[in-house]
Symmetry: C2
Subunit: 327 residues, 2 copies
């Protein structure tokens, strides 16, 4: 077991790895973001290690300064063993990531689903003030929620709590890759927003997006910000569905706030405002909705929050001092 | 504080009061169910006391044998103070029920929402086997869920967790009294099922229900059991929506089982089978749904479970030995 105390938090995404190194009081010591793709299991550990080295090197630190490591992964994780059972977008299946990194670094390594790690980190760092309950709704390639209840991350009996991306919100909506029709992910994720724009252009709708194909959600929100009518309509529809998701999270868990993040949320107000309008419509229709949805129920993460990497740092802190097996 | 150890559990409904008296090991000592209505706040304590007296008297017990009391109420409860802030169907508003009963009996009295109390009781009594996580979905005049996570009742930041009766499941559905359109309660509660039958008969649909108006949900399910085509169709639609609710509860909380109860669930297989078919359709469409919905995910309470009154007994047990204020 290392006596050194620094924490490495690693957020593994489909197209980049973000590393934050912090001390036990969560003061930042080093950071690195590499666009390196981690698209196969074999090279994953090497690429993660190289990103960690980069962060340490830039701050004049070395591996020996690390006391624990936390990793957030977009997928299903067995947090006991540190094995990633399935991360579709990374192509990982039953990857013993925690064990592999622990063998390499000889420090405790904890692995968690990225959105859940981010939720726990937001709570523990009091990013949005005090309060024992929050949901973090991540909207990106997929949609899922991490939920903190009574001050504790709720993982669920099978570690799948908050997978509301595959709850049906519009039964007449498009078919989701999961098989169901009208899942939240099928109507409001990044790819869903892009597909809607593509379909409208295919149908001959005029829009500033017409020269950008294939279209990304980032481009749709940028066009909406610039006043494009089609993009505005698509953003409004996605926001209405996300407002329903916020409402649902509040009704299910009784969390007084839902924090929005993820790649699509980087569009900022263009992303948030349609959600706020959707919530206002629910409030206008229902006294109960007014009652359960406080004015600040939906909040967007401030720019540069690095919720994923900070979540991984907090995860690492929880692992400090744990025994490391030496097989 | 009384040294006596018996527990009184009281389930207050819109049309009856059920009382169970049990010892600390939850062995039943006495019971009474009175059809007495508790429809105004003024007489509530007297009527509850009379039901308790009846149960005690029938078993040769007296008030001095009671060590604690628990009460489940269909409404919003401040469990700290024992005040019922709102119980719409009982016409109660800011009723300090716990305090009033505590003054009368001089024993600890705990008050809880009836569905949450039932959920906690089902868990603590291991009615459906071991397992730290379950949702109890009560379908009656209203619909709501009580949720046990990691072995503990989840109440939520404002004591409203599980109020999924007002989550929109069919945005084209009928308007709910809450103001929103297509809430779960507006498509699958007892009154909703009855309204659907009424509307179909108004529209000239032939059915054995035509001579029974005004129709109740009990009659619709009885007619479905007897093969009436209209009633079968209504039961099937309600079941499909409840299957979505079960799916949603599983996706949100990651509970491996959802226990169905409440007045409408007394229809038994006629109520349950359409839900099971709805779940099978979700499984047929989606591998993820197959994955998260185990074969026994939806279970119905066995006849005579008295989940509400037993939940109140378990609630009482939690209050044993607490200080009682003597104002």
């Amino acid at each position: 077991m290392s006596d050194a105390g620094l924490l490495a938090g690693i957020d593994v995404g489909g197209s980049k790895i973000a590393v934050l190194v912090a001390d036990r009081d969560l003061a930042m010591c080093a950071r690195a973001t590499t666009p390196t793709s981690v698209d196969d299991a074999e090279g994953a550990v090497d690429r993660i290690a190289s990103a960690v080295d980069q962060a340490l090197g830039a701050a004049g630190l070395s591996i020996g300064d690390l006391g624990a490591m936390g990793i957030g992964v977009p997928g299903r994780v067995d947090t006991e063993t540190g094995t990633v059972s399935l991360a579709v977008n990374l192509g990982w299946h039953q990857l013993p990531l925690g064990e592999l990194l622990q063998q390499r670094y000889r420090i405790p390594v904890r692995v968690e689903n990225d959105v859940r790690a981010a939720a726990a980190g937001l709570h523990e760092r009091r990013v949005l003030g005090d309060g024992a309950d929050l949901a973090y709704l991540s909207v990106g390639t997929g949609i899922s929620a991490g939920v903190v209840l009574d001050g504790k991350l709720h993982r669920g009996a099978r570690g799948m709590a908050g997978e509301i991306g595959h709850v049906v919100v519009d039964r007449d909506g498009p078919r989701c890759p999961c098989g169901l029709a009208g899942c939240l992910e099928a109507v409001a994720s990044g790819p869903a927003v892009a597909r809607r724009a593509d379909a409208a252009l295919d149908a001959g709708v005029d829009s500033s997006l017409r020269d950008l194909r294939p279209i990304t959600a980032v481009e749709v929100y940028a066009a909406a910000a610039a006043g494009d009518a089609l993009a505005l309509r698509i953003a409004e529809e996605a926001g209405a569905n996300l407002a329903r998701a916020v409402h649902e999270l509040v009704m299910a868990y009784d969390v007084p706030r839902v924090v929005l993040g993820g790649g699509v949320a980087l569009a900022g107000r263009t992303f948030l405002d349609p959600i706020l309008r959707g919530l206002d419509r629910l409030r206008a229709e229902s006294e109960l909705a007014r009652d359960v949805l406080p004015p600040d129920v939906a909040q967007i993460l401030p720019d540069g929050s690095e919720a994923g990497a900070w979540g991984a740092v907090v995860l690492a802190r929880g692992g400090l001092g744990r025994e490391v097996a030496h097989p």
